[in-house]
């Protein structure tokens, strides 16, 4: 069973954002401390987008997916 609290558009936006952040970090577009930060933080939106579940949404009882409660 799925426990998805993100709508499709939300998931796509997170995946695109995650890939973009990872690209900036791993491709060397941003270097130094910020580059390292992006290399790690990019996985966060990517993972939540792929899984469809955002713990922060759950914490604040918010959801963009309106098909389940």
């Amino acid at each position: 069973m799925k426990y998805v609290n993100e709508a499709d558009w939300d998931r796509i936006a997170r995946v695109v954002l995650g890939i973009a952040l990872l690209y900036l970090g791993w491709a060397g577009m941003v270097t130094g401390g910020w580059g390292t930060f992006l290399k790690i933080i990019g996985f966060l939106p990517l993972l939540t987008g792929l899984v469809g579940f955002c713990p922060a949404y759950a914490l604040f009882k918010f959801r963009t997916n309106k098909t389940t409660a």
Partner: protein, 179 residues
Amino acid sequence: MTDPTLAERSATHPRPVIVDVWAPWCAPCRRMAPIVERLAGEYEGRVDVWKVNADEQPDEARRLRVLGIPTMIAFRGGQEVSRKVGAGSEADLRLLFEMAVSGQAPAPRGIALSDRLLRLAAGTALVLLGLTSGPSLLLQAVGGVVLFTAIADRCPVWQAVRPRLAALIGRGGTASPEV
């Protein structure tokens, strides 16, 4: 002695049963209610609809393994035939009623197409990024895993190995197919 569960009651019930788990505060449940009522009327005498208020009967909802509402479960002869989680169209619900009548569950469909495409796109992007940046083995490995999750439900080797892995980590049992 404890009361019989809904599944046990459905075993002795003369007709198939759709168990509708809902709550008054659940907006998707309220949207689905008229559709359920309409279909219940249409299938009167062939399928019965039992409502379970998740707030008033949390134990029953837990026994039915309900993690989100609305959840509708089709029982026939005490056996779960199929379940539908979340709001859906009348066609989705009609399929559930038909499955309750016939006892035939459709072949498991695996993950949704949108989910599959999203994973394929993300996995490909990660692998390409891994190949062009460094190359980075970490990104390639993560991309490979993401790509695999997109096709795992179609992989016969994984399907053969998965039950053994599940048994190994103590998660035996099979989930019923979802609508």
